[in-house]
Structures are given as C-alpha cells and as structure tokens.
C-alpha cells in the first residue's frame, strides 16, 4: 500500500510535467552574455512577454556564437556587439535591417597593485602594451565574442601579438572570465555594465578607460527570412519593434540607475 502511494506521487509529478503545454509563438533571440548577466535582458523580456502573446527563448552566448546560430538559421533575431562581423554577416545575406541602437563602453580592469603600472594610460593600446611588456597576466575571453574581437583589435593597435605565458585564454562568458582574472590577479577587458553588475564580488578595479577605441556598440539584426524560411519572422519583427520603441528606450535608460547608481546602457536610436 505504502509503495503504491509513493508510486502514485511520483506518477502525479510526471504527469504534472507533461501537462504543461508549449507556448505557441516562440521567438529565438541569440544574444551576448553581457546583456543577460547585467539583468537588462530579463527586465526587457518580462515587459515584452507580459501580454502572453510571445515566448522569448533568449540564448545568451558570445556574439561570435550568436552569429553562428544566425548563420545556420537557428536564431530569429540577434542582439550582438561585434560591428565588423555584423557587417560581414549582413553582406553575406544571413541577416537584414542591422540597426545599431545602443552603446556602453569597455574598461580595462586590473588588480589593485597594478604590477604593469597601467594606471594613467590614456590610450587603450598604451595600456595593452604595458601589460604585455611587464608580462603581467591577462585573461582573454577567447570565445569569438564581441569583447574578444575588440580585445584582438586592441592588441593589433598596440602592435603586440598576444601569446605566451602571460596570456590566458578562458573560453568563457564575461562573468566567468572576470572571476578567473580576479583569482589570478590578472588584467582583463570587460564591458562596463557586466563589470558594474559584478563589482560587489570583485577586487579588480579600472586601470584605463575613456579611449574612443573602447566604445562598445550593440546592434539588432533580423534573420533573413528569404534565406531561412523556417525562422519566425513576424515574431522577430515584433521583438525588433519593441526594443526600438519609446517604452523600451525609457526602460533601458532607467536600467541600473537604482541598483548601480549609474546608467549602464546608452540608447542611440531615435525610437518611435
């Protein structure tokens, strides 16, 4: 008897799991970890999904992987920050209506002791050169993300080939990479918003900021329905229009002010 009760309880649990019906209008967004880890994505998506018409599947990966999802038709819409790759992506016909609408900036972070004496470097490439010359540790995302691509650009600008013992390739998202840099007391390039959202858990501090090269621009790209007939084009359009709307602009501009004491993302698009 007892056994039957336990079995019945297990069975009921299983049924409860099956009964949950799948929502119909699913939109798949491929985006970057920085947008998720700050909490911006959750906040926006809650508003977007409020009327129950759409369910958003937001896959937060690096921009490189997000565009890979776009290249195979897995994503309906992309929210990425890797301008050179984005242009190529659109030119090759995978995406349409690329709209750059948002920016924040990258910061170079390092340990308090600043062993490479980077503090005070105005130019990002100067900071990178100092890190390489001092052979102080540097942790790279190494995941083809927008941040990784920017980092490689900075190394090129500094005319340094990033290799050798000082250069650690994490292959992880921004948060994971920051945690490694924290433990290894190494330098790292991060977007300001992810850093702010984790700052309470980190001892790393900003050693260089403000260079024009460090601006970080985010774009939306719709998957090209002519190329991928299976994508949810109307759903993607609905999300596209939502993010580029005035209410979304207000939400984004207010985001973070209360929690972090400053605005995290700056809206550049003339929203309708």
């Amino acid at each position: 008897m007892k056994n039957n009760l336990v079995l019945a309880a297990l069975g009921a649990l299983l049924l409860a799991g099956c009964a949950k019906s799948e929502p119909k209008n699913i939109i798949r967004l491929a985006t970057t970890t920085s947008v998720r880890d700050t909490g911006l994505l959750d906040m926006l998506n809650e508003t977007f999904q409020k009327d129950g018409k759409y369910t958003l599947q937001a896959i937060a990966v690096g921009s490189g992987q997000a565009m890979q999802l776009g290249r195979t038709g897995e994503a309906d819409i992309l929210w990425v920050h890797s301008p050179d790759d984005e242009k190529k992506f659109v030119e090759e016909g995978y995406g349409i209506e690329r709209t750059t609408f948002l920016h924040n900036d990258f910061v170079i972070l390092g340990p308090e002791a600043d062993p490479a004496k980077v503090k005070g470097a105005k130019k990002a490439e100067e900071a990178f050169r100092k890190i390489a010359e001092a052979k102080a540790g540097f942790v790279s995302r190494a995941d083809q993300s927008g941040t990784h691509k920017k980092e490689l650009k900075l190394w090129a600008a500094a005319k340094v080939k990033p290799a050798g013992k000082f250069y650690l390739e994490a292959g992880q998202g921004m948060a994971g990479t920051l945690s490694i840099a924290e433990e290894k007391k190494a330098y790292v390039l991060a977007d300001r918003s992810t850093w702010l959202s984790m700052a309470k858990n980190l001892k790393l501090g900003i050693v260089s900021e403000g260079d024009d090269l460090l601006i970080n621009r985010y774009s939306l790209i719709l998957a090209n329905p002519a190329k991928f007939p299976k994508v949810n084009a109307p759903g993607a359009r609905a999300y596209f229009d939502f993010v580029l709307s005035k209410p979304a602009k207000e939400l984004i501009e207010k985001f973070g002010v209360e929690k972090y004491g400053q605005q995290l993302f700056f809206y550049d698009y003339a929203a309708k």
């Binding site: 056994n3 336990v6 649990l13 799991g17 799948e22 038709g73 897995e74 992880q172 984790m198 858990n201």
Partner: protein, 233 residues
C-alpha cells in the same frame, strides 16, 4: 573562511524565505530528470532483460557497447541531441531545441545505457535453471522475463537510483540542449554554474543545497520502495 560561512548563512536564508525562483528551478530539474529516468526504465529494463536471456551473434560485443555507454560523457550526448534538434538538423521540425523536451531526450540517452546494462547483469544473475523451468511450465519468453524481473526487482530499483542520480547531477547536456534560459530551461546544475561564475556564491550555495536535498528526497522515496519489498518477502 568567513565568506564561506556568510555564503551558507545567506543561502539558508534564501531557501527558508521560500525564494520562488529557486523552487521553480528545482521543480523543473526534478520533472526533467524523473521523466528521463522513467522513459529510460520503460525502454532499458525490457531491452536489458532481452539481451540477457537471448542467445544471438555478437552478444558479447553488444553488452560491451552498452557497458561503455554507461560512461557516455553527457556533453557528447548533449552535442548529438543538439545537432539533431537544431532547425537545420533532421528533427528540427519538432522545435524541441532549448525546451524541456529536448533536455529530457538528452538525459534519456544518458540514462538508457545505465539502466540497460544494470538490467542485463541483474537478469544474468538469475539462475538459468529457474528461467528454463518457467519456460518448461509453458510460459512465453515475455512471461518468463516478467517472473524473473519480479525476483530481481531490488536490483532494478538500484539501477533506477543510479540512473536518476546521474541525471539530476548532470550539467553538460542540459546546458547545451537547454541553453540555461531563465524561467524556461534553467536547471539546478546550470544555475549553479552561472551563479558561481557571477560570483554570487550565496545563491550558488543555496541552489547546490537544494540540489543535494532533492537527490536525497528522491533516493529516500526509492529506497523506501526497495526496502519495503525486502520486508514483505
């Protein structure tokens, strides 16, 4: 040391304040892993029994393959399921990638060899004379297997425990196939990874504790079933 204790204190606070998100994640973890285990039992026990009692060419090779499958790396299972469920993959029309259904399939593939292999060895421990005697009494293969399964049910429950334990603790496959989407496919294990990387150790510890508790409760239930059978013998 301080920060570990602090983490534990906050974790207990989170759990006992009934943080709804943690419990929703726990429910999803439990549902996915239990369903995957259940399907693996439905398929693996008959399959294992059949392999055990039948004579056929390359039987040893098949058993060796199933035994190897017990060590199937979850990330490999996840990768394969992801490739099949992708829109451009052969099962893309199902739209099951990044859904709990996809995660159940991946976990089913991980659990199936475990349950099958343990069923094979349990069945092979039955005295062949006993099995042949049942056949001699006029039972069909299927009926004979059923009688034997009743004899070895304790071991079968042990196989279920082993399978479920592997699944509920597994992170690689559900990360790849589920995508760790909040409110949709975030499991206890993937949430632990994410919170740890974000440096939110209190949340990570809280979720870790819930994961341990969940494993314990399910195993307790299964053990009660198993041990009751011992007593009623």
């Amino acid at each position: 040391m301080e920060f570990i204790l602090e983490g534990f204190r906050k974790a207990l606070q989170l759990i006992f304040s009934g943080n709804p998100e943690i419990f929703a994640i726990a429910r999803l973890s439990l549902t996915v892993s239990l369903l995957a285990t259940a399907f693996a039992v439905l398929a693996g026990v008959p399959l294992g029994s059949w392999i055990a009692v039948k004579k056929f060419p390359l039987k040893k090779l098949l058993i060796a393959l199933v035994n190897t499958g017990m060590g199937l790396p979850p990330v490999v299972a996840g990768l394969v399921v992801m490739l099949f469920l992708a829109r451009s993959g052969p099962l893309g029309f199902l739209n099951w990638l990044y859904t709990p259904k996809g995660m159940i399939i991946a976990q089913f593939i991980i659990a199936l060899p475990i349950i099958t292999a343990l069923s094979v060895s349990a069945m092979q421990n039955v005295d062949p004379k006993f099995y042949n005697q049942i056949l001699a009494l006029g039972a069909s293969d299927r009926q004979a297997i059923w009688v034997c399964l009743k004899e070895i049910r304790l071991t079968i429950v042990a196989a279920v425990i082993a399978g479920f334990g592997r699944l509920v603790a597994e992170v690689g496959a559900v990360m790849i196939v589920g995508g760790n989407i909040r409110h949709q496919t975030r499991m206890l294990t993937t949430a632990t990874v994410m919170e740890t990387q974000m440096g939110n150790f209190d949340m990570a510890i809280a979720i870790g504790l819930v994961l341990l508790a969940l494993g314990f409760v399910v195993n307790l239930a299964l053990t009660i079933i198993q041990q009751n059978k011992v007593l009623t013998r």
